[in-house]
């Protein structure tokens, strides 16, 4: 009952607009960026809006017109350049293409045919350059069509065979697994998009929940409520547990809001459509349970560490400063594992990564793809022991004079300076 009471109070104290507004704004920003990126991708797949001035009546200009009618939205088909520019500008298009009168004649006589392009540029942003690349793709198609026709006519050979006389059949050997029918860049892209997500989820979770619990301690000190709390008929262990549960709830909620925005952003960036399970890299329900346990223990370890640092805080502001070591410990594995696997690190760095409890959910996710269960189980055991030891120290601090007197001794000089 008392535990529930203290948990409820923690949640009420932490669930304030000042806590949630910044994270909601960040989530909305990510979602908006995702929306813009998604729009850009869609635009890249749409037919470009163009104008055409065809001054040639030959075979190859007919071929070019056929491709343009298939692949582009022609809003002007006439003979006046200025008219064409005006019409394309009005329609939001990006180019007017002019096929000169000697286009087919030149090609027939082994002279390169020219397609003149007048670009209508509206800005210098990423969005503005997309439409030009789509027109470039259409021009490339015209080139390919005419090239095929010339090869067939002049040699009588199959142009596709002539242009692609070899074909590759590829197999990837990855950590002892054999994967056929996929190239390394597609597989790498898919795995790295997965590799980016979990480190960011872990980091955000630790930072949000850690920030919540350390703020709670800072507020207890600043508002001078701690002394009263410690004289209430409730075990000190229950106070610690209530604070951990309250901050975990608020932290989870904040991380969820962030991930909704970030997930939408990532989804819009996803290009490869590859089912990892087809290559034996998918995760089963049991695997997800193990990743969940690992993530939960990392969260508890982060909260316990933050609460321990929070006991040194003198006020809300100093509590935020004291969060720095936890933030650093959450960011380091995120960056390291975005670029490489734990197995590829030099022994000293590998040991350091294993020592940080926040590394283990990321290691677990990757190891489970290859059925490497022992490392995941060891990681879970390590994180559990780490959390228990830190919680034990926190309860000891709560039972000692240090929380009230603020006397933290010579050994804790750095923390004492930080907490000022």
């Amino acid at each position: 009952m008392s535990l529930m009471n203290i948990t409820k109070k923690e949640i009420k104290e932490l669930l304030t607009p000042s806590t949630f507004v910044p994270i909601i704004v960040i989530a909305i920003l990510f979602a908006s960026m995702g929306n813009i990126m998604g729009g850009m991708m869609e635009e890249g797949e749409e037919e470009p809006v163009v104008g055409v001035i065809n001054e040639d009546n030959g075979k190859y200009s007919d071929m070019a017109m056929f491709v343009l009618e298939e692949d582009a939205d022609i809003v002007y088909n006439g003979s006046e350049m200025q008219e064409g520019i005006d019409e394309v500008t009005k329609s939001g298009g990006s180019a007017v293409l002019r096929i000169p009168g000697n286009f087919s004649y030149n090609i027939d006589n082994n002279i390169t045919g020219t397609i003149e392009v007048v670009w209508i540029m509206r800005g210098v942003g990423i969005m503005d350059s997309i439409s030009s690349s789509v027109v470039e793709r259409v021009i490339q198609n015209i080139n390919t069509h005419i090239s095929h026709d010339l090869i067939e006519e002049k040699t009588g050979l199959d142009p596709l065979h002539l242009q692609n006389p070899t074909v590759k059949e590829e197999v990837i050997m990855f950590k002892g697994e054999e994967m056929a029918g996929v190239d390394p860049s597609t597989l790498g892209g898919m795995l790295s998009s997965q590799s980016v997500m979990l480190p960011i989820v872990t980091m955000m979770l630790i930072m949000m929940a850690g920030g919540a619990i350390i703020s709670s301690m800072g507020m207890e000190k600043e508002d001078k409520t701690l002394e009263t709390l410690l004289t209430l008929p409730i075990k000190r262990g229950s106070i610690v547990t209530g604070k951990l549960i309250g901050a975990a709830t608020v932290g989870l909620l904040m991380a969820l809001i962030f991930m909704l925005g970030y997930g939408y952003y990532m989804q819009s960036m996803q290009t490869a459509d590859l089912n990892l399970a087809d290559y034996g890299l998918g995760l089963g329900i049991f695997d997800y349970v193990l990743v969940g346990i690992s993530l939960f223990l990392a969260l508890i370890a982060g909260l316990a560490l933050s609460l321990l640092l929070g006991t040194f805080a003198k006020n809300y502001k100093s509590a935020q400063t004291l969060l720095f070591p936890v933030t650093a410990l959450a960011i380091i594995p995120m960056f390291v594992f975005m670029f490489t696997d734990v197995g590829n690190l030099p022994p000293l760095f590998r040991s350091l990564m294993y020592a940080i409890p926040f590394s283990h959910p990321i290691i677990a996710m990757r190891s489970l793809m290859f059925g490497d269960y022992p490392i995941v189980i060891w990681g879970i055991l390590y994180s559990a022991i780490f959390s228990m030891v830190i919680i034990g120290i926190v309860v000891w601090v709560f039972n000692s004079d240090r929380l009230i007197t603020g006397k933290i001794g010579k050994k804790d000089g750095i923390l004492e300076k930080l907490s000022r």
């Binding site: 009952m1 008392s2 009471n5 409820k8 109070k9 009420k12 104290e13 304030t16 507020m219 508002d223 001078k224 409520t225 002394e227 009263t228 410690l230 004289t231 209430l232 008929p233 409730i234 075990k235 000692s400 004079d401 009230i404 007197t405 006397k407």
Partner: protein, 236 residues
């Protein structure tokens, strides 16, 4: 109710409280007075189970402070000098939160009703603590400390931050609670308050009790008109 025998509290080499002894009977109002840094607050914090003792013996209602701190917390209520309340809760929510630790499964409504009555904040009891003045916060905290009918109320500067009228009301309230059987241990800088409230007092200086007795006795003994004069004569 309180038995303190040769209490010592040290921080490293510094002795904050040095072998002090006193006892307080049930329903008695006992005052600890002394200059800043004399050891009053540390003594109150020790008796409130907040600080560990370095030496000596303290018993509250027969419970040993070192071994039965959790039992002691069930019967005491501590009001620190510069205490605050959770600013994101309303005054009533704060009282409800505190009451739940003491309801013994009977429900909190009666305890909270009493707290609201003592705090006497009118409709402002439903406003966030963050919007309260210093005096309003103190009234809320006095309400919190007394609403549970503690066997022992430990009050550090109970009228600190209150205006004359509110301070007078709180003093009256303390008297009423003591008459109802609650033991009061308080510290104060206000000598008039001590004179008015306390059945017995101890003067503490440099962590040592230098004088104890009933206010009237002490005034006679030191040929002083008031406790302030006694205090000055003894400390010099």
């Amino acid at each position: 109710m309180i038995e303190v025998e040769n209490l010592i509290k040290k921080y490293g080499d510094f002795t904050a409280v040095n072998r002090i002894s006193f006892d307080v009977g049930e329903g008695e109002i006992f005052g600890l007075i002394g200059p800043n840094g004399a050891g009053k607050t540390i003594t109150l914090r020790v008796i409130s189970t907040l600080l560990k003792i370095t030496g000596g013996k303290v018993k509250i209602a027969g419970n040993d402070l070192e071994k039965e701190a959790e039992e002691i917390r069930k019967i005491i209520s501590y009001l620190p000098e510069d205490a605050g309340a959770y600013k994101n809760l309303t005054g009533k929510e704060y009282l409800e939160f505190m009451a739940e630790f003491f309801d013994g499964g009977k429900g909190t409504s009666e305890i909270v009703r009493k707290g609201v009555e003592i705090a006497d904040l009118g409709e402002r009891i439903d406003d966030k603590v963050d919007t309260y003045s210093k005096g309003m916060k103190r009234r809320l905290l006095v309400g919190r400390a007394l609403m549970i009918d503690p066997k022992l109320a430990i009050l550090d500067e109970p009228t600190s931050g209150l205006d004359v009228i509110n301070a007078r009301e709180v003093r009256q309230l303390i008297k009423e609670y003591a008459a109802g059987g609650t033991t009061i241990l308080l510290s104060s800088h206000n000598m008039l308050e001590v004179d008015f409230l306390c059945d017995r007092i101890s003067l503490i200086d440099d962590g040592v009790i230098v004088e104890s007795g009933r206010p009237k006795q002490l005034k006679e003994k030191h040929d002083a008109e008031n406790i302030e004069e006694v205090f000055t004569k003894v400390v010099r």
